[in-house]
């Protein structure tokens, strides 16, 4: 991004913050889709990664999907939509199978991978902030994370959120 473009962004002055609290494959999409699209529309975006969302900043990510807790989860199969009842999450290998199915669908339908969207987020200068407390709690090190992220806590988030036009918690 050149200086002129940075000035344009500043002039537009719209900003958004997103708290990313979940790291499963399905939950990782909304924050990255909205964040990258907002950035493409000239919005200054900050994403805070906390709790189970934090591992999305690891260099190597492999988000999985689970039927557990996704009561309304249905997958297109053989021309119908098959429900994935919670109990399926208890069967060994069911989540892995659901993840493979989901990833196949994602590829087939031309949907971006989470890695692709995360690359787009980095490229479009979205500020990625890792929650210090979660890093400590779940024993992650800064060197395990992608470069260019910053570390922050609740006060860092609040300072940003108070100035932002849109604040989302996902």
């Amino acid at each position: 991004m050149d200086t002129q473009e940075k000035d344009d962004l500043a002039a537009n002055a719209k900003s958004m913050s997103i708290i990313v609290t979940k790291g499963s494959l399905d939950w990782a999409y909304p924050p990255f889709i909205l964040g990258t699209t907002a950035a493409a529309m000239g919005v200054d975006v900050t994403m805070f990664f906390t709790f189970y969302g934090l591992p999305l900043l690891l260099k190597e990510i492999n988000p999985q999907v689970t039927a557990l807790g996704n009561a309304a989860m249905k997958m297109p199969m053989m021309g119908m939509h098959i429900g994935m009842p919670n109990i399926m999450g208890m069967i060994p290998g069911a989540d892995a199978a659901a993840t493979v199915m989901m990833k196949n669908l994602i590829k087939k339908k031309g949907v971006a991978s989470i890695e692709e969207l995360r690359d787009a987020a980095v490229e479009s200068d979205i500020k990625l902030v890792a929650c210090q407390m979660t890093m400590d709690l779940f024993e992650y090190k800064l060197e395990d994370m992608i470069p260019g992220i910053t570390i922050g806590g609740a006060a860092t988030y609040m300072e940003n959120a108070l100035k932002a036009d849109i604040n989302l918690f996902i």
Partner: protein
């Protein structure tokens, strides 16, 4: 004839918008970008993108399931 063509056929939301934004950055102000998509949602999304960013859709058409937009880089 547009100055640049972006083939975003087969790509789903938000990739056509992200790729269009990236392409627009490489165009001088006043330059035109032709975008081809197959995503039916791109019709309302490209309109919203242009209204918000100040870029201008100067041409729009549909051929079968392919949508075509010509965007003038004004912002």
């Amino acid at each position: 004839m547009a100055d640049m063509v972006l083939d975003a056929k087969g790509l789903n939301c938000p990739l056509p918008i992200l790729k269009a934004k990236k392409a627009l950055k490489d165009l001088p102000p006043g330059g035109t970008l032709e975008v081809l998509t197959t995503d039916p949602g791109s019709v309302v999304d490209f309109a919203a993108f242009c209204r918000t960013t100040g870029n201008e859709i100067v041409e729009q058409s549909q051929d079968g399931n392919v949508y075509r937009y010509v965007i003038k880089h004004t912002a």
